[in-house]
Each structure stands twice: as C-alpha cells, then as structure tokens.
Subunit: 251 residues, 2 copies
C-alpha cells in the first residue's frame, strides 16, 4: 500500500527548553483531524541539523507528506533548510526567486545574512501565500513551514487545501466497568474488524461518570456500526452507560 | 561525553487523532526545565509496537533517561511494555510482585486480561508511588509511565526526584531590529561562546513591542554575562530595547 497522510517535525530548542509552549504541533493535529488526513508521527527536536535529518528521514518513511515547523530564518540556529537538503540528498542552492522576494521585502535593510533565507534545497518550489510575502517552500514531499505561529497557521491552511482527506465515521461507548473486564471482547472484536480502529481510554477521576471510553472509527459507516454492535453484545450486561453513534469528520 | 538528560516517547493514537490534547508532553517539558534537566528529544507515536521500538531506540541513543507515556494497560492497544522489551532486547515476563499488586487492587474483579499489565520487560524494577497503588516501572534507562494524566503527573515527580538537575543562568535581550540585521554578530558571538546556548526568536505581531528576542543560557553565570556583553557591543547602536539579566532556574 502507498504511503498516506502526514508526519511532522517540530524544530525547536525553544519548545524543548520551555521558552515557548508549542502551538504548531497541536494546531496541526487538530486541523489534520478535521480534514480527515491521518497524522502518523510527530517529533520535536532541537535546532540541530543531525537531529532534523534523522527525524525527516523517519517522517518520510512513515507518511506521504512531511511538514516541518521552524528553523527557517537567517540566524545561526536556523538549520532546517540545510538539514532537509541533507535528508533528501540534495545540495543547498540560492533560490533566485526567493532572493528577489527577500530583497523586495527588506529593501535597504537587507543584509548578507537575511539573504541566507534564500539558501534552500535544490529544486525547492515556492507556493505563494496570501497574507504574507513569505512563500511556502516545498521540496519533494517535504513542506518547510516557519515556526512563527501566525505564519505557520496561514501556510498550513494552504498545504491542507492540497491534501485529500477521507471521511471518518466515529462511534463512542462509555462504560461503567474497567479495562480488565472488557479486554477480552475488545481483543476479539478488534481482530475481526481490522478496518475499524478501536481505542480504549480509562478515566480515573470520579467526576467523569464512567470508567472507560471506547472509540471506534473507520472509513465505512456500516462497518463501524457493526463493530459497535459486536462490542455491545460482548460487553458485560448493563455496562454501556451511553453511546455517541454515527459522528463523522473529514472532507 | 556521557549521555545526559531525558528523551520522551508519547504513545498515543488518541493524541495523534486529536481525541485528547496531550498534557503529558507539555508537563514533562515544563517540569524538566524547572529542575534544570535537559530534554533532548520528544516523539509522539501511535499505539504501534514497531513505531515505539524505533522511538525508544532513538531516545536511548540521545539521552541518559528515556520516559515513555501511555500504552500501559490490559487492552489490545496497550503495547508499550512489549515494545520497550523489544527495544531493550529483553523478553516479556510476568512480574510476580506486580501481579500481586494487581490482584490486591482489582480483587474479585480481576481478569486474565487485567493481569496482562504484569507482563513487563524482564528485569523491570518497581518503584512504589505515593498516592496510587500502581508503581513506577523502570527497566534499565527506561521509565514506563502511564498515559492517564493524573498518574503520569504523580509518577513524573518521583522520577524527577531521582534526576540531577543543573543550575542554568539565563539572559534575554529584546531588540528593535530584525534577524537579518543581527545574524552576523550572533554567528560570531555564538561561535566564541560554545558553552552559552543562544536562541533568536522573531516576533511579527506589532503588539509585542519588539522584533527579536535573543536568549542566552548556560551553566556559568559569568560566561553568560560576558556573552551578553559581547552581543550588546556588536548589535546595531540603540537596538537593545530592554534586557532581562541573570535569571536562574534548576536545582
């Protein structure tokens, strides 16, 4: 089967050292989900070329599209473009069109260092982005997005418009019994319904009013419904407190 | 140099599919920072044994201690213990002491499946945890923490008490100029002060009142202060709007 969905690499020493709370990862998770695009893997690394090369390599093996966040800029800690080039086995080249955009934006303030932003993996394609002069950079299956949340948010929406989402049908059951009492039926039903992903999430606070939330999801509403029925049948009598059937997300 | 600090592997499909917003990763980042323990790498993976094995392998290469969050439990999607065993090249064994704790906790409700929680990597050490019957599981350099935030939080504090933090001295400069205008001096000073980590964070909203925040940090207050002075000297005249000197964190 071909690769699907997205994997993400968040660079940020500022995230790992708690200087900022990462907004881009959580936004990416939420927006991909809303669009029905699977997120396979996400990694947060320091502004370190070796770590980024490794992470981009794994991301590309796991997903059809890799999105990086951060490390795009003119300073010594901006190493993402170089690292992505290495991960793709490409040289770093000055991009004439990007250089022209930088010169136009910075005008007389432009410096040798500001122009470093135009040094990108050879073959990088620019996608112009409404709302900012700074374009999206794409090389092969990697989108290099800036870490600044305002820009990341804008560019992510443009990237998302190019991805094909699937409709996902959801079902949830809230149970009065613990995971130990349901694991056997879950084993059995999840093995029978390979096309329905099942999750089991215990809740320990008494405030929740249930002990385990079971989630079911898949591309085929009828199969999700069948799996929910199979679970309901196999679960201890009276253990289903409530259900949330037939929700639906994705494009 | 020996390995230091921590790397983290967050398992959850529920995080990557936006069913819950991960609290454990952000908590880990904040608490490690407060204690002065470096966090080298963090990865979020699905409840998939292969993905966890790979992530734990990378984490262990990058840090002295690996902390996993989630995938501890009796259901089909709880695969962390098995995956950590594979990553460590160990068998999975029923842990008699853990089995006894589970039997005591669940009493007559105990099931064959609940006892699966006692199947852990051979040689796993249990560390009893105040506030919950469920102990911390440690095998070699890997701490296997549960994903449920209430339990993760409790156990993390116990793990942290066993780690040695370093004092970190901080300095911040807020600038009226953009990154292009400071990259050269940053290059020069960061190359001269290898023991002082420098970060450069542009701010694009006008509300911030500055254009770039520079951060400096290191174990030696005098060196951090010298690096800040070197920056101040090299930066464009009048570009430093304000400074926050001599903050300090860590044990």
């Amino acid at each position: 089967m071909g690769k699907t969905g997205v994997a993400a690499v968040i660079t940020g020493t500022e995230v790992l050292t708690a200087k900022i709370v990462d907004q881009n990862g959580p936004l990416l998770i939420r927006r991909l989900r809303e669009r029905g695009v699977p997120l396979h893997w996400m990694c947060t690394v320091h502004d370190d070329a070796d770590a980024i090369v490794e992470a981009v390599g794994i991301a590309r093996r796991r997903a059809a599209i890799t999105i990086t966040s951060g490390g795009i800029g003119p300073t010594h800690d901006d190493v993402t473009a170089r690292a992505v080039a290495r991960a793709l086995g490409r040289d770093v080249m000055r991009h004439p069109e990007l250089e022209a955009l930088i010169r136009t934006h910075y005008m007389e303030e432009v410096s040798t260092e500001a122009l470093r932003i135009a040094d990108v993996p050879e073959g990088t394609e620019l996608i112009s982005q409404e709302g900012t002069w700074f374009p999206i950079m794409r090389c092969e299956d990697v989108f290099l997005l800036p870490g600044v949340p305002q820009l990341f948010r804008l560019q992510l929406e443009t990237v998302l418009r190019g991805l094909t989402g699937a409709r996902i049908h959801l079902w949830a059951l809230y149970l009065s019994v613990g995971e130990g009492a349901i694991a056997a039926v879950l084993d059995e039903v999840s093995a029978r319904f390979a096309d329905v992903a099942m999750g089991s999430y215990p809740e320990f606070g008494p405030a929740a009013g249930y002990r385990v939330k079971l989630t079911l999801e898949g591309p085929d509403a009828a199969r999700v419904e069948l799996a929910a029925a199979a679970l309901r049948e196999g679960l201890p009598q009276g253990s289903v407190l409530r259900e949330e059937p037939a929700g639906q997300i994705g494009a």
